[in-house]
C-alpha cells in the first residue's frame, strides 16, 4: 500500500547531475555519480540501496553538510549555495532533519531539545512555548516534557527528534533511517506518526532506509541507487510489482527470503 499525495506538480527538491567524489591515497572514487532526480511537493519519497550505495552521502549533500564536486540542488526552487552561509541557514529553516541515531542533546530535557532550534534563532519565550507544546501533543509526548533523553525509549527519542525537526514548520523533512534502531512495533508507531504528520502538515518527506517494508508502507515513490549511481525511480507500487533493475530485484527479493 502506498500513499500518493500530489498537491501540486511542483518540485520540492531538484537534483541535477550531482557528483561527489573522494580522493583516497590510491584512487578517486565516486560516492555519488551524476545523479539527477526530482522530488515533487507532497511526495513521500524513499531512497533505497545497499549499505555503501551512497544514500547517506546523498542526504548529507542535500542537507548541506557535504559539498558536491559537481551538479546542483534546488530546494523549493532555490539553488543551494554552499558558499553563502547566510542563505544556507535561511534555506535550512525550510528543512527539518531527523538523523539516524536521534542525536538529541543529553543534558537538555525533551522540551528543551524540541525548543532548541527556536532558541538558537532567538525566538521569544511565548512563541517557543506555544510551538513546543503543540508539537509535544502532536508527537504523543505529553507528560515527558521535563524528562531527559537518557530516560526515554528508542521510539520516544525518535518522537522528540521528529518534533524537533518540525519546530520551524518546514516544508521538507529529511529522514535518515528513521526506524532502523527500533523494534517492529515501535517502527509501526513511528510510521503511523510520519503518515499523520505528512497528511496534517503537508510536508514533503525524503527518507533513506534499508528497510524495504518501511519504504513499501510509507513512501509513494522510490529511488534505487547503487554504487553512487541512479538505478531506477518509480512509484512505490510499480517498483514492488515490477522492479526492472537487478539491484532492485535483489533488494526487494532480500525481503522475501531473509
Amino acid at each position: 500500500m502506498s500513499i500518493a499525495f500530489f498537491y501540486m506538480e511542483e518540485a520540492m527538491i531538484e537534483i541535477r547531475n550531482l557528483t561527489k567524489s573522494y580522493v583516497t591515497q590510491e584512487n578517486t572514487f565516486n560516492a555519488l555519480e551524476d545523479i539527477s532526480f526530482t522530488v515533487e511537493d507532497g511526495d513521500l519519497f524513499g531512497i533505497i540501496g545497499m549499505s555503501g550505495a551512497g544514500k547517506s552521502t546523498l542526504l548529507n549533500v542535500i542537507s548541506g553538510l557535504i559539498k558536491p564536486n559537481q551538479g546542483e540542488i534546488l530546494i523549493d526552487g532555490e539553488i543551494f549555495d554552499y558558499e553563502d552561509e547566510k542563505r544556507l541557514k535561511e534555506l535550512r529553516k525550510k528543512i527539518g532533519f531527523v538523523f539516524q541515531g536521534y542525536h538529541l542533546l543529553m543534558q537538555k530535557t525533551v522540551y528543551e531539545n524540541i525548543a532548541f532550534p527556536l532558541r538558537i534563532q532567538k525566538k521569544n519565550e511565548e512563541e517557543i512555548k506555544q510551538t513546543v507544546d503543540e508539537l509535544i501533543i502532536k508527537v504523543g509526548l505529553v507528560g515527558k516534557e521535563n524528562v531527559y533523553p537518557a530516560k526515554l525509549s528508542g521510539g520516544q527519542k525518535q518522537r522528540v527528534a521528529i518534533a524537533r525537526a518540525l519546530v520551524n514548520k518546514p516544508r521538507l523533512l529529511l529522514l535518515d533511517e528513521p526506524t532502523s534502531a527500533l523494534d517492529s512495533l515501535t517502527t509501526k508507531e513511528i510510521i503511523r506518526l510520519l503518515q499523520h504528520i505528512h497528511k496534517e502538515e503537508k510536508v514533503t518527506m525524503l527518507l533513506i532506509t534499508h528497510e524495504i517494508n518501511v519504504a513499501r508502507i510509507l513512501t509513494n515513490k522510490v529511488l534505487v541507487i547503487d554504487q553512487g549511481r541512479f538505478i531506477e525511480l518509480k512509484n512505490t507500487e510499480d517498483i514492488f510489482l515490477n522492479p526492472e533493475s537487478e539491484i532492485a530485484k535483489l533488494l526487494l527479493g532480500k525481503e522475501v527470503q531473509p
Binding site: 541557514k89 535550512r92 542533546l105 543534558q107 537538555k108 538558537i120 534563532q121 533523553p149
Partner: protein, 217 residues
C-alpha cells in the same frame, strides 16, 4: 591561639588561595585554548591544521617542563608581574602557567567525547559556531568538565607543596621548613593530614556535583 595551629591555619589558607586562584586562571586561559584545539582540528568546525599543530606543540612543550624547573625559569617573569618571586603571589604565576596547558588538554578530551554527528545535527539546524560551542560542546560536556576539576586542583596542591621548596608559602613551605629542615615530624604529619583532607574534600564534592548534574545516565 596555639602557634602551631595558627601556623597550620595560615598555611592551609595560603595553599587554598594559591590553588583556587591558579585554578581559576588556568581555566580562564585553558578553556578557550581547549576549545580552539577542538575547533581547529582536522574536520573541526573551524579547521585550521597549522594553527592546531602549533598550538598543540606549544602545549606539549609546556607540559614536558617539570614544574620545579618551570618555576625557576619563570622567576624573572613572575617578579615582573607580581613584584615578587616568593610567597603566595609569587607562586600563583608558575602554578597557573603550568596548569593551563594541562587544563587545555583536559577540556579538549572532554569536548571530544561529544558525538561528531550530534555536532553536525546541530549545525544543520542553523546554529552558529558560537552557539555550538556554548550549547553543545560546553553544556553537553559539563559533567565531564566538572569531573576533571579535582584532577587539576589536586595536581595544583601537589605543585604548590613543591613550590614550598623555593619559598612558595603554604603547607608545602611549612612542611619543608619545619618538617624537613628542622626535623619537626609532628608538623610534617599535620601538613600531610591537612593535605589529605583537602584532597578528599575536593574529590568527593566535585564527583558528587558531577553525578548530580549528569543526565546521560
Amino acid at each position: 591561639m596555639n602557634p602551631i595551629v595558627n601556623l597550620l591555619l595560615e598555611g592551609t589558607l595560603d595553599t587554598l588561595i594559591m590553588v583556587i586562584l591558579s585554578l581559576f586562571l588556568a581555566y580562564l586561559f585553558g578553556l578557550p585554548l581547549g576549545i580552539i584545539l577542538v575547533l581547529t582540528k582536522k574536520s573541526g568546525l573551524m579547521e585550521r591544521p597549522k594553527l592546531h599543530l602549533i598550538l598543540g606543540s606549544i602545549i606539549n612543550v609546556m607540559r614536558s617542563l617539570p614544574f620545579i624547573i618551570l618555576m625557576v625559569v619563570l622567576i624573572p617573569f613572575t617578579r615582573w608581574v607580581t613584584g615578587t618571586s616568593i610567597g603566595v603571589f609569587g607562586t600563583i604565576i608558575p602554578l597557573f602557567i603550568s596548569a593551563t596547558p594541562f587544563v587545555a588538554r583536559m577540556i579538549e578530551t572532554s569536548l571530544e567525547e561529544i558525538d561528531q554527528h550530534t555536532i553536525s545535527a546541530i549545525e544543520v539546524m542553523g546554529a552558529s559556531i558560537y552557539q555550538i560551542v556554548i550549547h553543545v560542546y560546553i553544556k553537553e560536556s559539563i559533567p565531564s568538565l566538572i569531573r576533571n576539576i579535582p584532577i587539576v586542583a589536586i595536581a595544583l596542591i601537589g605543585y604548590s607543596a613543591m613550590a614550598g621548596a623555593t619559598g612558595g608559602g603554604g603547607l608545602g613551605d611549612i612542611a619543608i621548613r619545619y618538617g624537613y629542615y628542622n626535623y619537626d615530624t609532628q608538623m610534617m604529619l599535620w601538613t600531610i593530614i591537612i593535605i589529605i583532607v583537602l584532597v578528599q574534600i575536593i574529590q568527593v564534592s566535585f564527583t558528587g556535583l558531577s553525578k548530580k548534574i549528569d543526565k546521560r545516565l
